[in-house]
């Protein structure tokens, strides 16, 4: 707050120095944390795979025996394959459920070779805490209701929340989130129906 008026370059130098200093600090932090963060993400992936593919049905590492397919939008989908004695016993892949309240909801789907859901888990979401985040298995068991269902059970036109004439309960205060999740799972099952042979065969 001094009364003297300093030339502009003084302010510019001060601001520039601070930017450079904190830039270096953040770059160093980024380098130091990159590997650990990657490891954590991989651990999370293994954990979410374990939630949708029971350990008893495979003797391989599904992350290694994965195949990459393209979905109808041309985006790569990594399909993790659980195998026992060389034959496929289960499949798992990530699916983005669009239309969530806070952007897409990342789901992990586990499916048996005949198209039944082994389980669904939510990997990442930005839904409202206390409302939409009830899809999170850590908070409620809402998501477990999909286990055992398939594209014909219930019929395709019933793969909706009750409010839209389907058969799945929304939860109080949030319709948008369950609607997005139900849609995402249906979408994932359709992806399986369209690609099941490719998922089974390719080695």
């Amino acid at each position: 707050m001094s009364a003297t008026i300093r030339p502009t370059w003084v302010h510019a130098t001060i601001l520039g120095t601070f930017c450079a200093g904190f830039g270096v600090m953040l770059a160093a932090t980024d380098i130091a944390t990159k590997e650990p963060i990657k490891d954590r993400a991989l651990e999370d992936k293994m954990n979410s795979l374990a939630q949708v593919i029971p350990k008893t049905i495979h003797d391989n590492n599904p992350v290694i025996d994965a195949v990459t397919l393209k979905n109808e939008e041309g985006k790569d989908v990594v399909v993790y394959r659980a195998m026992k004695a060389g034959s496929v016993t289960g499949l798992a892949y990530e699916m983005d459920a669009s239309g969530g309240y806070g952007g897409p909801i990342k789901l992990m789907l586990g499916i048996t070779p005949d198209g039944k859901l082994l389980g669904v888990s939510v990997i990442a979401h930005k839904e409202t805490p206390g409302l939409g985040d009830k899809i999170d298995p850590a908070k409620t068991d809402w998501i477990s209701r999909f286990t055992g269902l398939s594209l014909g059970n219930p019929p395709v036109d019933k793969w909706k929340v009750k409010k839209d004439g389907g058969q799945f309960d929304q939860f109080s205060g949030a319709t948008i989130t369950p609607r997005a999740v139900v849609g995402g799972i249906r979408h994932g099952l359709e992806f399986f129906a369209a690609n099941s042979s490719a998922m089974m065969e390719k080695k």
Binding site: F18, T29, G130
Partner: protein, 223 residues
């Protein structure tokens, strides 16, 4: 000197409380007080960033010119937030999965910036650190209180999911105050945040009036 530290602590916790007196930091206050646990988590993360930012600004206060101080302060807050975000993601991953949602929101909070400008820019390092810390704790208390009221009336529970944030030994905190089908939805939704925060401000003023204190107005620039 110790009287001054006492005043800093009292100001932060009650007399000049960031939410209940200065009405700053309303964005996270509205967004994160749907439950007491969320309010507590948001407050905790903010307190860490505020203490660190106040400390840094006080350290550099003689080098930053008046004209560029605001960008420098924002830079310091943003750098601290990013630092905390990355470090927690790498080495405190379990906590990050719960708190990670809150951390980027701290940048949008103008309470840290107000304390940098009103306090840390003029005061030595130790008082500034204490001011940041106790303003942060006061913020935590206010958010937890608002969250508790919204949660009890809105969905009938108190400290739901506290064990996810604090660890399994805190399961005892999670309680159901009202019957299971209880719930006044509007209090969970954004309007509830405004309603309860407003009523809390009124309550604080009534308490201050009853104890014969003057009501502080627009306290952001008083030290």
């Amino acid at each position: 000197m110790s009287a001054k530290y006492g005043q800093i602590i009292k100001d932060g916790l009650w007399e000049n409380n960031g939410v209940l007196c200065m009405l700053l930091g309303m964005c996270p206050t509205m967004a994160m007080t749907g439950t007491a646990t969320n309010g507590f988590g948001m407050g905790l993360a903010t307190a860490v960033v505020m203490a660190a930012s106040n400390l840094m600004v006080a350290m550099f206060r003689n080098w930053v010119t008046h004209e560029v101080r605001i960008p420098v302060y924002i830079l310091i807050v943003a750098a601290n937030v990013t630092f905390v975000d990355l470090v927690m993601n790498a080495w405190m991953h379990e906590l990050y999965k719960v708190l990670g949602l809150f951390i980027p929101l701290i940048v949008s909070n103008c309470l840290p910036l107000a304390r940098l400008e009103a306090f840390a820019a003029k005061e030595p390092v130790l008082p500034s650190f204490l001011d940041g810390l106790f303003m942060g704790i006061g913020f935590t208390l206010a958010l937890t209180a608002i969250g508790a009221v919204r949660e009890i009336i809105g969905q009938g529970t108190l400290f739901a999911d506290a064990a996810l944030l604090l660890g399994p030994s805190f399961h005892f905190l999670e309680s159901r105050v009202m019957p299971a089908d209880w719930g006044i939805l509007v209090l969970i939704l954004p309007p509830g945040g405004f309603l309860i925060a407003g009523l809390m401000v009124v309550a604080k003023r009534l308490i201050d009036l009853a104890s014969g204190k003057e009501i502080k107005m627009a306290g952001a620039h008083s030290v």
